[in-house]
Amino acid sequence: MAPDWSEVVPHVREGLVVCDAGGVVRHVNPVAARLLPELVPGTPLAAGVPAITTDPAGFGHRSRRLTARRVALSDGRCCWYVEDVTDHVDRADALLAERARASFLAGVGTTLGSLLHPDRAAAAVVRLAVPVLADAAVLVLAPRAGRVRWWRAVRPGDEAPAVDGGVLAAGDLPQAVADALGGVRAHAVDWLAEQATGAGWLPGAAPGGTHARLVPLPGVDTPAGVLLVTPPPGGSPDEDGTELLDAFAARAGAALTAAALYRDQAEVAETLQSSLLPVEPPGVPGIQWGTAYRPAQAGLRIGGDFYGAHPLADGGALFFLGDVSGKGVEAAVFTGQLRQCLHALHRVESRPGPLLALLNDTLLETVQAHGQGRFATLVLGVARPCRDGGLTLTMAGGGHLPPLVLRGGGEVETVPLRGMLIGVVGDPRIGEATVRLAPGETCVLYSDGVTEARGGPRGDQQFGAQRLVDTLTGCHRMPAPALAERIAQVAGDWLTRGDHDDVAVLAVRAVRPGRHLHAVPAPAGQPGRSR
């Protein structure tokens, strides 16, 4: 049995509009009559609804969004199927907007999360706010020492926002901003834009006034700063926008607080750290120094190796290099104590052996008093220039690796210097040795981070003393700084990636005092120049 179409058609959810071959409306079902009330049978479709289109994106009509299909019928007639997709589009838009907000906030979190420099964090906050949250954004940080720093991002057309900033005296702050920084929650206020214009943050307000909002960025106690935003023209602050702005403010506040905290702590750490870093040896006539220092904890740049030198009043210099037990900050603090001890003690005793004994007694007392159980190994020497441009080195050893001497012919000698650990027992056995350096010859002190560097093909082999000797052999023409760097480099290259011990090198080279620092004539055919 064929259906009775006249009974079925009124209940179709789509609007149906049947037109004749001339485009004149002939039939309109109830849905179409509701969606397109302009349509009157007997009048042309184009006159009633000129915007009608088969574009899949649809068309706006009486604040609804409609889509239409046109189906050809017999005799040149046609039927338009019109559908109301307003709710569907709204839901999709809402979903997209929510996704955009979530991805915006995720991006903000990632960017701000790794910024620890306060200025970088502040600049990023305003840059991220434009254009999603605002046309212009101004961040005013909490006052420090009576001054207020601010950052601003403005969007010039379609390009990336330009960021600038400045400083104001705390007293010159607009009242609303000062209140907000003080923790008084201010809501949108009409005269805010005028105040911001007065402070030079925003260009002259457009006629009719610019809406501006002030959002505190939560800090530890009072806000870390406040963010002033002017929404894009025509954009009125809706609920979602406000929520997004608040979520952004929470992340920005956390980032600024963390950066400020890091700055304060890093300032303290840096001050302490600088007192623990080895000090470069002073210039002493007749001596060329070379140093290399590579602490195990690269981020801290301090470690348990130390070296140093002090000029002696009667010519020459005291020099030392050593290694304390342990690693990291605690070891570094101990090296600081040790260097200070030496600095003071060398004024009363400059003979290496007795000085080392004196240092041992002093450390023993400190160690026992603090119950630290720390000890050190070191080589300590005095270099005295000779008339011929050479040096006499008198060295004392406290259980450290024996120094190496690069002779003028390119060969390497090991100085027989042993002795016991420093800071363990009273009256330890101290090794002593005297070395003559001819002009151009070099004595090298190094820490066990060089010889115990683990690496090689399988990553488990020690670099070893013999490889160090091989490395130095034939390098007698190298200036001391280049020599020290070369040792650190070769040991560094030997290491397979990963952990390494502290590395320190101190090279002492005899040079003729005067203008020509080390133009040492080398006899022809020496290893350094041969093929």
């Binding site: 690269a298 399988r458 190298m478 560094g492 020509h516």
Partner: protein, 346 residues
């Protein structure tokens, strides 16, 4: 003797001073040019920089020992310091941090970049050779920087360079890179999504252009999904062991090597893998073939025949059969060796 008035005229004299590790002589040549009215930037770029390139090439051809190369480099650094002492530039612009990649010891080229930037009014911090990433990042967290300039002279460090650049970017500091490690035309920097400057003046122009500095090309590293790079790095020790055993089998003379020669051989075998890994990382076989070309120069000037290298490449190619990209690069390396050997007629 009258002082030369142009870097070109002074060049030969200057190189002689480098050869003698004669610091005061070299400094004298550079300062005389300055006194003759040559701008400091030209002395740096037309005298110091090309001389340093010569030094590297002399080492590669075994004309200079490594000790001489180091001594000459040290003298060059002293020359740069002396020029810096004579040209006081008052910083009027932001801070630029210049550093060598971790494990990168060629500090002179970035030092020249640092000096050129300083002469152009930037406040420059030069962190020196082989800067660990942790040190660089903690520095950036402490001291705001307009940009970071990173140097990499050897392409084996490209994967580390990539990680280091990413770390700087997380600190929200723009990064530019330079040095031969990124390819003569910077193509590997482009592949890794980095801004690259061919020389010091270009680097100076780049940091001065905020828009250019923010225009970072996207990294194209989809090829890493095949894990060939990761597998090669993980199997490095085992592969070197195998190659050494193979070498001892084929060339009995290598069994009698003393420790130093053995170390050098093992280091060469590892180097081949490191360059192969870097080539896989940027997916460019020319990185590996360029290395093979260079290694041939170094080895033949030291009496090692290129055939030994070809056999090792063949060995690696056999072991790495299941890695199509790596095997392809090794094949290209062998093809290069074969074509290089032909004119000799053996």
């Amino acid at each position: 003797m009258t002082a030369a008035r142009t870097p070109a005229a002074a060049y030969a004299d200057y190189l002689d001073h480098l050869a003698e590790a004669d610091e005061s002589g070299a400094i004298g040549v550079a300062l005389d040019l300055l006194d003759a009215g040559v701008p400091a930037e030209r002395v740096l770029l037309d005298l110091v920089a090309p001389a340093q390139e010569d030094v590297g090439e002399r080492w590669a051809r075994n004309e200079w020992s490594v000790a001489q190369e180091h001594a000459a480099t040290h003298v060059s650094e002293r020359v740069v310091a002396a020029l810096a002492g004579r040209t006081r530039a008052v910083p009027t612009r932001g801070r630029i941090v210049v550093a060598c990649m971790d494990g990168e010891w060629h500090a002179l080229p970035p030092r020249l970049v640092a000096e050129v930037l300083r002469l152009r009014g930037w406040r420059v911090t030069f962190l020196g050779a082989s800067v660990p990433a942790a040190h660089l990042v903690s520095y950036l967290h402490r001291h705001d920087a307009h940009a970071v300039a990173l140097a990499c002279a050897v392409p084996v460090r490209l994967p580390q360079a990539h990680r280091m650049v990413e770390a700087c970017r997380r600190a929200d500091v723009p990064v530019l890179v330079g040095g031969r490690g990124f390819g003569a035309d910077g193509r590997w920097a482009d592949r890794l999504g980095m801004l690259w400057a061919p020389d010091a003046p270009a680097a100076a122009d780049l940091v001065a252009d905020a828009r250019a500095l923010s225009r970072v090309p996207p990294a194209r590293l989809d090829h890493l999904a095949d894990d060939e790079y990761a597998a090669l790095v993980a199997r490095r020790a085992e592969l070197v062991d195998g190659a050494l055993a193979d070498l001892r089998e084929r060339v009995p003379a290598t069994r009698a090597y003393d420790r130093a020669r053995l170390d050098a051989t093992v280091s060469d075998l590892g180097h081949i893998l490191d360059f192969l890994a870097a080539a896989l990382y940027v997916d460019d076989g020319s990185l590996f073939t360029e290395f093979v070309r260079w290694l041939v120069t170094v080895l033949t000037s030291r009496g090692v025949p290129a055939a030994a290298l070809a056999a090792t490449l063949e060995h690696y190619g056999g072991v790495l059969r299941e890695f199509p990209r790596a095997a392809g690069f090794l094949d290209r390396g062998r093809a290069l060796l074969a074509s290089a050997a032909e004119p000799v007629g053996r």
